[in-house]
């Protein structure tokens, strides 16, 4: 009698809790990142003063390659830029096209990087993260016709991911 009574009590308690227990079995949640775009972020600086500077010439940026995709079209008076990075190749060629009344001049920037696939969860979109391993720029001296030229580039933060931190400092020299 004692056993059956205790059993009854325990089973009743068990029954009351069993359903929620079954419902929450394996319950967990994974949040996908709100910002799921990976861009290289660069800011413009004056090579003489070292201060942040605005580009006053009309600037377009083209991703060099088989498609020559236009990334930025005729931007003026700005000091920050987000650039995509290749998923497969480890060297991206970016063409900075400065347009003035005299015509157009191109500075070529090459960004060397690694590509690491990034997975969060099955229900989140995938992406590639990158590590910048090197940057080079074609040398050009500013002139009266083309008064703005890229002087040098400094890698500030080599890791390119969702964080949107400033990765490159692009220094411009002016005529």
């Amino acid at each position: 009698m004692f056993h059956s009574l205790s059993r009854c009590i325990v089973i009743r308690m068990g029954g009351a809790w069993l359903l929620p227990a079954l419902i929450i079995a394996g319950c967990s949640s994974t949040d996908c990142p709100l910002n799921n775009t990976v861009y290289l972020s660069a800011r413009f600086y004056n090579s003489s003063s070292g201060a942040v500077t605005n580009i006053t010439d009309t600037l377009s940026v083209i991703a060099g390659g088989k498609n020559n995709t236009l990334i930025l079209n005729r931007f003026v008076n700005f000091n920050q830029i987000n650039l995509p990075m290749g998923y497969v190749q480890t060297s991206d060629t970016l063409l900075f096209c400065f347009k003035t009344k005299a015509g157009t001049v191109v500075d070529q920037v090459v960004v060397e990087h690694t590509n690491v696939p990034h997975f969060v969860s099955l229900d989140c979109s995938t992406a590639f993260f990158h590590t910048i391993t090197g940057v080079s720029v074609s040398p050009r001296i500013p002139t009266a016709d083309f008064p703005t030229a890229i002087d040098s580039i400094v890698i500030l933060q080599p890791e390119v991911n969702y964080d949107e931190r400033e990765n490159l400092q692009i220094y411009f020299s002016t005529y």
Binding site: M1, F2, H3, L5, S6, R7, I9, V10, I11, M13, G14, W17, L18, A21, L22, I24, A25, G26, C27, S28, S29, T30, A63, G65, K66, N67, T69, I71, P84, G86, Y87, V88, Q89, D92, N115, V116, P117, H118, F119, V120, S121, L122, D123, C124, S125, T126, F128
Partner: protein, 249 residues
């Protein structure tokens, strides 16, 4: 003089006193008074003699009361029907009906493709949990138990992660998304609460709720495993449960 003897004497004396008082009261009072009902917790017997008889039948709990084996029915069902699940068994010792050191072994399995992203995750890896339950029930002999306990768990996982090619929107390249034999290891702790009822002789059923906290994990460059065997969906913490069939051996 051992404890049983002391208790026996005490029960005898109290029974004698009770009967003697009732006898005196009955003689002194002209009318018989209805005895006042006393609310008692636990199981009541019709007479003290029944209670005493049962008490005498009970043997003291030994230090080592036995071993039981169990299987998790819920994990096995999820293994068959859900995105992930585990086949899990446990061996448990019974120390004085109070402490239950336990080792749980299992094989976690997942083979799931997300409908929206078309990403596919596949693994089949073992896990182990070691811990101890404490029986909160006052009656340690009944076979019905209320548990709380702790676990430390570990798994070494190998998994495959595949998906559609990633198309570079700027340069137009296709990056294959196929990663096989990714390796990781995860350890976690569990807080356990559960109930168990004796159904028939050596057979018990019970369930447990488990709050799991990830303690450490090794993450491959691609990313962490979506599902961790024995843990569930990979997160810093999660909630799970088991429904156990337990056999005393």
């Amino acid at each position: 003089m051992n404890e049983r003897t002391c208790r026996f004497i005490l029960v005898l004396i109290s029974s004698f006193c009770l009967f003697a008082r009732l006898e005196v009261n009955a003689q002194n009072e002209a009318t018989v008074q209805t005895p006042q009902k006393v609310r008692t917790t636990g199981v009541q017997y019709q007479s003290e003699v029944d209670s005493l008889a049962l008490f005498l039948q009970q043997k003291p709990l030994r230090f080592f009361e036995g071993v039981s084996v169990s299987g998790d029915l819920l994990g096995a069902i999820l293994y068959q029907i859900a995105n992930y699940g585990q086949l899990e068994g446990a061996v448990r010792m019974n120390i004085k009906g109070t402490y239950f050191p336990v080792v749980e072994l299992g094989l976690g399995h997942s083979d799931h493709q997300d409908d929206e992203t078309d990403l596919h995750f596949k693994t089949s890896s073992p896990f182990i949990r070691i811990g101890c339950d404490y029986n909160l029930a006052r009656d340690k002999r009944s076979g019905n138990r209320i548990f709380c306990g702790l676990r430390y768990a570990y798994t070494k996982i190998t998994y495959d992660l595949t998906g559609p090619d990633l198309v570079d929107p700027v340069w137009g390249d296709h990056a294959p998304y196929i990663f096989n034999d990714l390796k990781s290891n995860v350890s976690w702790g569990e807080l356990v609460f559960g109930l168990e009822a004796k159904i028939w002789k050596i057979f018990h059923v019970g369930w447990s709720l488990r709050y799991r906290m990830r303690l450490s994990q090794e993450i491959p460059t691609v990313g962490q495993a979506w599902y961790v065997p024995g843990y569930g969906k990979n997160d810093t913490h999660n909630l799970g449960g088991t429904f156990n069939l337990v056999f005393d051996i």
